[in-house]
């Protein structure tokens, strides 16, 4: 039976700012611009926001910084930071807070100027004492180790990984806001510079700038606002480790726990999903999450993605914005998964709009495959 939270809250506004390159703008400026855009999209005012949910890579006390910058004195705040999946966790936490009446208008937001601030993947993470002496270049070292294991156990190949990057680019080519556009072949990926075997530079996500935000209210109010609501149908998080060397099995992520719990919460199954937004920091991620969330059997993810199966016109729509691989990835990407899912559920995704999109799965990943948070969103037809 579905959880009592199903459909009780909805995303009513979305906003982005400076996605791609935003020279001369700070992380908090991008976050705030996206937040203001999301509030306007909802047809609400900043003064009505009374719940703040946020995590960034540059703020030790993110809800304090956001509250001060926007001039909000929230009744409820949550700075849960489990990496890039924090925002999927915030969807669940905001739904709980709204349902409990602890706040009425929840803002979930993120911003980063990672590209123009240095162009490298920066992290506020403390060094991990049992790994750091061996000079891992996390996150890529961790994902490369997981990929090595997946290839060993299941016969996954570099060609299969490359197919994920090619599909992401094909979607990006339909999205005018995607940062990396243009032709990309499997051969291009295979020939690109090796960074950490078996992952080459085109197996890795972009390093961009960008802010993104959404607004949630209870469903009764959502129905009277500007856009078709994107209802929160269910969500769950799972965390099994912090450091990659402590991951119980490098070929099985905690998405295999968060996914089934989220589906049970929503009363849905993978066959009900029209759009899967999977956090693709690296090409191996998409393969792992397709398996662990139940879209294909364990070990078959590599074979599942072949022949354009997750590209436009394929059997499952995955990462229709172009993903972290080709659209946008400013340090933590989780908030952008939500924005794309809402665009599709509203039927406002332009050239890449799916013919039918009533149920979208958003799956966030954080750390080094460490935190996994799955949420299911749906429009009126999914209720």
């Amino acid at each position: 039976m579905a959880h009592s939270l199903r459909g009780k809250a909805a995303i009513v506004g979305i906003g982005t700012a400076g996605t791609g390159e935003a020279p001369g703008r700070s992380a908090i400026e991008l976050l705030a611009e996206a937040s203001i855009a999301a509030v306007a999209d909802a047809g609400l005012t900043v003064a009505e926001v009374d719940g703040i949910f946020t995590a960034t890579s540059v703020h030790a006390f993110p809800t304090l910084s956001v509250g001060e910058y926007l001039g909000i004195k929230p009744k409820y705040f949550d700075g849960t930071n489990v990496g890039g999946s924090s925002f999927e966790a915030h969807l669940l936490h905001a739904s709980l807070a709204l349902d409990a009446g602890l706040c009425d208008v929840a803002l979930i937001c993120y911003g980063s100027n990672q590209r123009t601030a240095g162009g490298k993947l920066v992290s506020m993470s403390e060094p991990q004492v049992w790994e750091a002496p061996f000079k891992p270049r996390h996150p890529i070292t961790a994902y490369a180790l997981a990929a090595s294991r997946h290839m060993h156990e299941f016969g996954t190949t570099r060609e299969m990984l490359a197919e994920v990057a090619v599909a992401a680019r094909a979607w990006a080519n339909l999205n005018p806001n995607a940062f990396a556009r243009g032709p990309l072949s499997r051969e291009d990926v295979l020939k690109s510079r090796m960074v950490s075997d078996p992952l080459s530079v085109l197996d890795c996500c972009l390093v961009t700038d960008g802010g993104a935000a959404c607004i949630m209210t209870r469903a009764d109010r959502a129905r009277h606002l500007k856009h078709k609501p994107a209802y929160f149908l269910g969500g769950a998080g799972a965390q099994w480790h912090r450091t990659i060397s402590s991951m119980p099995d490098l070929a099985i992520t905690a998405a295999s726990e968060s996914g089934p719990r989220a589906f049970a919460h929503a009363g849905l199954s993978p066959s009900d999903v029209h759009l899967a937004m999977l956090y693709d920091a690296f090409t191996i991620n998409t393969i792992l999450f397709l398996e662990d969330l139940g879209f294909c059997p364990k070990g078959e993810g590599g074979r599942f993605v072949m022949d354009g199966a997750i590209a436009p016109g394929g059997r499952l729509a995955v990462n229709t914005n172009g993903g972290g691989l080709s659209c946008v990835h400013p340090g933590m990407y989780g908030m952008f998964l939500i924005v794309e899912a809402v665009q599709q559920l509203r039927g406002r995704a332009g050239e890449r709009q799916l013919e039918r999109c009533d149920v979208a799965l958003v799956h966030g990943n954080g750390g080094t495959l460490s935190s996994q948070v799955t949420a299911l969103l749906g429009n009126e037809a999914a209720l």
Binding site: V129, A132, F134, S196
Partner: protein
């Protein structure tokens, strides 16, 4: 006022991490083992993960293990043209736990999953640590 109960690790004695590092400084690779549960623990902790047993004692590691996962960090070559690429591996110790380390004495891209390896205490990043050689 009721007396507060102290765990076995409380007091002035160094914690498990410091003890492990002191052993390394003497050239010894030691693991913790729970006397009651028999399980080995790495990294060093004050209790067995998941079960919380605190009866941990230090035992010498066999030093034997198997490569569980491996990668090569690619870098620009050294000024003399030699390769600066290096290995990073996760080793499954015969005792059970896994640890991050590297396999030396073999080209970094020749390290394969399933390869048997043997531990050696060496200086890593300026301090004693455990590295592995092909067994």
């Amino acid at each position: 006022m009721s007396e507060q109960k102290s765990g076995p690790a409380a007091g002035t004695a160094p914690g498990p991490e410091a003890v492990f590092r002191a052993h390394l400084a003497e050239g010894k690779f030691m693991l913790q083992r729970s006397a009651s549960a028999g399980v080995h623990v790495f990294y060093p902790r004050v209790a067995v993960p998941s079960t919380g047993e605190t009866d941990l004692e230090w035992v010498e590691a066999s030093g034997l293990g198997t490569v569980y996962a491996t990668t090569v960090t690619r870098q620009r070559p050294n000024p003399d043209g030699s390769s600066a690429d290096y290995n990073i591996a996760i080793i499954a110790l015969d005792e059970g736990p896994r640890m991050m380390s590297r396999v030396e004495g073999i080209a970094p891209d020749k390290v394969t999953i399933g390869m048997r390896v043997k531990a050696r205490v060496a200086t890593v990043d300026g301090a004693p640590n455990v590295v592995f050689d092909p067994a």
